[in-house]
Structures are given as structure tokens and as C-alpha cells.
């Protein structure tokens, strides 16, 4: 009985829906590539790209990986802790800023980033 109900979770979503998700993914990729033509400041470019990539990742996980059609307990078990761990990995960045600034000061290198 319970295995039957778990089966039914995997069926959700129609071909048309998946095709539309794919069209959106390709369209967002197109916008990302278009941004590469524009000489945007690196930080602006990075924030825009990461923002769009997170949207794409959300679409892939929600529809292609069926998370939208699973029990919410699965989503809560998997996603928040993963995002928290990824966030914690950014703790090394202040040191990157320190190194960049010290290298600028001592070598006078041209900033390419």
C-alpha cells in the first residue's frame, strides 16, 4: 500500500511541462551568454550569473529531479543542511581579500578580476 503511494509520486508532471522547463533553462542560459558580451564589472557579473544559476538549479531539482512532487519531508531533510554547509565553506573568503590586497600593495599588479 505504502509502496504504491510512493510510486505515484514519481508520475507527476507532463511532457509539455518538462518541455517548458527545458525552454526556460535554455532561455536563461542564453541571457547568461548575452551578459558575456557586455563588459560588466566582475562583481555585478558574478552576482547576476550566480542568481540565474540558482534559478536554473531550482528548476532542475523541482521538475527534472521531481522534488516538487515528493513529500516535503524529503526536501526539508536534503536541502537546508546542504545550503548551510555550502554557506559555511565561504568562511575562507576574507583571507582571499587579504591576499589580494597585500599582492596589490607589494607588486602593483594589474587587476584583471
Amino acid at each position: 500500500m505504502s509502496s504504491h503511494s510512493s510510486e505515484s509520486h514519481g508520475h507527476a508532471g507532463t511532457t509539455k511541462l518538462f518541455a517548458w522547463v527545458w525552454v526556460w533553462l535554455v532561455a536563461i542560459t542564453g541571457v547568461e551568454v548575452y551578459l558575456a558580451y557586455m563588459h560588466l564589472p566582475p562583481v555585478t557579473m558574478l552576482l547576476l550569473l550566480i542568481g540565474m544559476s540558482v534559478v536554473k538549479a531550482g528548476l532542475i531539482m523541482s521538475y527534472f529531479m521531481h522534488l516538487r512532487f515528493e513529500k516535503s519531508s524529503l526536501v526539508w531533510a536534503l536541502i537546508p543542511a546542504t545550503l548551510f554547509c555550502i554557506g559555511m565553506l565561504t568562511m575562507i573568503f576574507p583571507d582571499g581579500v587579504r591576499l589580494r590586497d597585500s599582492r596589490h600593495a607589494t607588486q602593483g599588479t594589474v587587476q584583471t578580476k
Binding site: S2, V26, T29, E32, F64, I86, I92, R100
Partner: protein, 210 residues
Amino acid sequence: MTDSHADVLRESSWTGGAHPFGIGSKKLGMWLFIVSDTLTFAALLLVYSYSRLANPNWPRPFPIVPAIIFSTIMTVVLLGSSLTMVMGVAAAHRGNRSATVKWMLATMLGGAIFCGLHATEWMHLIHEGLTPFANPWGGSPLFGATFFGITGLHMTHVAIGVIYLGIVATGFGRGKFSAEDVEVSGLYWHFVDLVWMFVFPMIYLMSVKY
């Protein structure tokens, strides 16, 4: 009375009798692997970002034509293979074996094309003089190390995915594997696609040569 009590025990989450997440153990296992692999790729991409931040002389070696156009085609091929995989999983749940195998073969073809294009790009860069320890354009040698490390690990995932899908498609075609097995292999494939959605902008689009 005793029997129904035992049934309740068997059905409880603590004894493994119920499905707290509403999915089978194979699917849960793949999701747990995906979480661990997500952290692996996240760590690599953050190390890359750290190195880039710490090295003001980071090279920007990819001109729009041909490098960015080339890697965009690779991205669309990989996205396309995700769509064919979705179709394969849907066909498997409908019980249509031959359609499932065909969609999975199309997915494998997409993965193989992606690997072929990627290898072509690698050979081009190696020919230019890029190694994990030095780059021909000057600036930080960490570019080669992070580029080959991250894209190499991703390409390995795609190659393993092609083999994995081949095994599952063969087994499903012969009636050995279930629709759930196809769906679990699909989860892996979509994850590999998802990782590329971060590798492509962070390594290619952030390194455009103007």
C-alpha cells in the same frame, strides 16, 4: 490485539516499516550521494573562487568566438540530454520498455557528444600550452589546476553517467530493472547537468577575453 500492535510497530518509521520520505531506499540512497557530491563540487568551486580572488593576475583566456560559443553548445547538448532523460523516466513509469531504452540511448548520445566536445576543447588548450602547473598567457598558474580539476571531475561524472545509463537501459530493456532504477539513474544524470549550470558561468562566462 497483539497482532495489530505488531503491525503498528512494523509500520512505524523507527522500525523501517513506513516510508517517512515517501520514496524507496534506492532513491533515498541516490539523493544522499547527490548531497555529498554537491558538497564536493561546491568546495571545488569555492576554492576556485578563493584562488581567483586572491590572485589579481588571474587570466581571462576565453574569447567569445570560438571558446564561449563552443562551451554554450556543450551546455545546450547537456541540457538536451536532461530532457531526453525525463522522457525516458516518464516512459519507464508508463511501462513502455522500448521507448525508455530509446530515450536513454539518446541521453547517452548527448553525454558522449558533451565528452567529445569537452575533450576537443581540452586538447586545444593543452596544445596552447595550458597545464595544471602553468599557463601560456601569464598570470596565476592556478588557472590550469582549477580548470582541469573541476572540469575534469565533471567530465568524469558524465563519462560514468553514460556507462551507468547503459547498464540501467540494458537491464530495463531485458526486464531485470524496474522503473524506479531508471528514475534513480535519471536523478544522477540531472545532478551532473545541474553541476554544469554552475561550472559554465563561473569558469567560462567569468573568464571572457575582451
